[in-house]
């Protein structure tokens, strides 16, 4: 039975609420409370996101004076134009794309074969290797010793510092192992063996093509993780040209180092200065949207798979 086809049993509770007439007074009060609470939750989560979107396309002066609340006003795309004019942001964006793709690739090459080997009951040493991995989830050398090892490996200021040390995600590996265990039957292996197929061939030609769902989940998990993280880059990449998008965002959104040059002191100049400052703030809203865009575009797809992944993960074997 595939773990990925459990949808049929998904809705259990609301099927038995009965018709409106048969519901007791207590139940109706309960339903009303649930409805109100969840609507509040919905608004609390949705409004800040919505606000970012409308602010990014509204007149910056109106946004800065708090006049944009429910609808965009004075629609302009100036913020977006400003973002695209910023060389370092674009550079960071492409750096991040590169690190993410490479990171996902390396991670899969390391994780999937291990997961498959550990899913096989006939694999000698399975227990020992499992313990070897699980231990790393609970004890770690800490920041400094890890940093020193990465440094002595010569990874400072290279992609490898971001890509290699975390390539073996133990949790991901266990999810993949559970998937292989439940979805690749031993009979399949026996049949292939009789046809003269060895383990490597079997893994590449039969196991991987059958594992699209789990590969998608891992790609998304690892990819989003790489795209959104900044700590490793802060730690290991000192050269500005190599820094990923999240660090560039940090300069602008958090450290606010993006100063507007002074324009002189005439009335016109002061007005212009005001406007530029407003644009600078507006750029932040646009920047938030652009930097989240890759993830946002994948979101509908991600959501479906992420949820499945959590389900498989919680049933770890």
């Amino acid at each position: 039975m595939s773990l990925f086809k459990r949808k049929a049993s998904e809705n259990t509770f609301s099927d038995f609420t009965g018709s409106a007439k048969s519901r007791s007074f207590e139940d109706r009060v309960y339903d009303a409370i649930v409805f109100v609470v969840l609507t509040l939750v919905f608004l609390i989560v949705a409004y800040p996101l919505y606000f970012i979107i409308i602010s990014s396309i509204s007149d910056p002066v109106l946004v800065a004076s708090g006049q944009v609340t429910f609808w965009p006003r004075g629609i302009t795309f100036e913020g977006y134009q400003e973002v695209f004019k910023k060389g370092e942001v674009m550079r960071g964006f492409f750096n991040s794309v590169y690190y993410t793709l490479l990171g996902v690739g390396v991670s899969l090459v390391v994780t999937l074969p291990t997961a498959y080997a550990l899913s096989r009951d006939d694999f000698f040493g399975r227990k020992v290797i499992s313990i070897f991995y699980v231990l790393t989830m609970f004890v770690s050398g800490g920041l400094i010793p890890t940093y020193l090892v990465v440094r002595s490996a010569g990874f400072i200021d290279t992609v490898w510092a971001l890509v290699i040390p975390g390539a073996m995600g133990v949790y991901n590996m266990m999810v993949a192992r559970t998937f292989f265990k439940t979805n690749i039957s031993p009979e399949l292996l026996d049949a292939a063996k009789i046809d003269g197929c060895n383990d490597t061939w079997f893994f590449l030609r039969i196991v991987l093509p059958l594992s699209g769902a789990i590969i998608a989940i891992l790609v998304l998990w690892i990819g989003v993780g790489h795209w959104n993280s900044y700590f490793n880059a802060l730690l290991y990449l000192n050269q500005r040209e190599r820094q990923p998008l999240q660090l560039e965002l940090r300069y602008i959104l958090i450290l606010n180092t993006d100063y507007v040059a002074s324009q002189g002191m005439s009335l016109e100049a002061i007005k212009e200065q005001r406007r530029l400052e407003a644009v600078k703030e507006m750029l932040k809203y646009s920047l938030i949207i652009i930097s989240s865009l890759p993830v946002l575009l994948l979101y509908p797809f991600i959501q479906k798979h992420f949820v499945k992944g959590v389900t498989v993960g919680s049933l770890k074997g």
Partner: protein
């Protein structure tokens, strides 16, 4: 052979650092390297515990993570129970889609949003306060506000996503229980109390134990991004401190000692909580 790349990477980047923890007991110097540096015993630990920072940092870390746990542990459970008992299925899907979304926002963007919204000059929150005649407040510079900002923005960001695992557990409850309960005249609240709640309890206990195991290693990324000179008295936690001492000030051994103290406390907490939980509820990790 399939396992080799993983084993090598894990060995180098997890097990060698574990061995390298001994620099916490040495006086690390770049010239003499990892293994050549001279032994100094517990000197770094003594120095840390005698420093005025130690108490403050450890207290900050504990308060922040206990507060976080108290807020972000029960809320997803409630959310999942509520969502599961919701009658409008389409509306439920919409709420789920929206509440999961913030989880995919990066920490930098999340903190950037907070700083924008709370800004005294242009932030929407202060604009709203001005409507009621309240003077603009610089929230990010207010030490007493910092923990609330940290914790509740975390709840905002993760509650939807954390509820997924509970929601999945609830979906696994056999419909027959609910049918039988309805026949017996149970109200919805009773069904939640006696059917749904017990079914997510094991998952909840497991996650609770695990979070106690990482009580002191509460994330670096967010605390560091939200930190500024004005709120440092409450926002300096162990992970940000080890980073600053070790990487920024290159005080490797001292920082490694603090890190080691952190890991040891985590391990002790994990084992203790797991043992207590096993005694009380029969749910334990091992």
């Amino acid at each position: 052979m399939f396992c080799l790349p993983g084993i090598i990477i894990t060995f180098i980047f997890h097990y060698i650092p574990l061995y390298g923890v001994q620099i916490a007991f040495r006086k690390y110097s770049v010239k003499r390297g990892f293994w050549g540096s001279e032994w100094v015993g517990l000197q770094h630990f003594v120095r840390f515990f005698n420093s005025p920072n130690a108490v403050q940092i450890i207290t900050n870390t504990l308060i922040l993570s206990l507060y976080s746990l108290a807020a972000s542990f029960p809320i997803p459970i409630l959310l999942a129970l509520f969502l599961n008992s919701m009658r409008h299925r389409r509306y439920r899907k919409v709420i789920q889609t929206v509440t999961y979304a913030p989880n995919f926002i990066s920490i930098i963007v999340m903190c950037g949003m907070l700083i924008l919204f709370l800004s005294p000059r242009i932030g929407i929150i202060n604009k709203l306060l001005e409507l009621f005649g309240v003077e603009a407040i610089n929230f990010m510079g207010l030490p007493q506000a910092w923990r609330h900002i940290y914790v509740w923005s975390g709840v905002w960001q993760t509650m939807g996503w954390s509820s997924v695992v509970y929601f999945a557990a609830l979906s696994g409850v056999s419909p027959e229980y609910h049918e039988a309960a309805v026949v017996d005249g149970a109200t919805k609240l009773q069904r939640i109390r006696y059917i749904d709640f017990p079914s997510i309890l094991p998952v909840a206990v497991m996650l609770l134990i695990l979070s106690f195991g990482s009580l002191l290693s509460i994330g670096f990324e967010k605390a560091y991004a939200l930190q500024n000179d004005l709120n440092r008295t409450v926002s300096e936690i162990i992970s940000t401190y080890t980073y600053k001492v070790g990487i920024v000030d290159s005080n490797m051994s001292y920082s490694a000692a603090i890190g080691l103290f952190n890991s040891v406390v985590n391990a002790v907490l994990l084992v203790t909580v797991n043992w207590v939980s096993g005694k009380i509820s029969g749910n334990a990790l091992w």
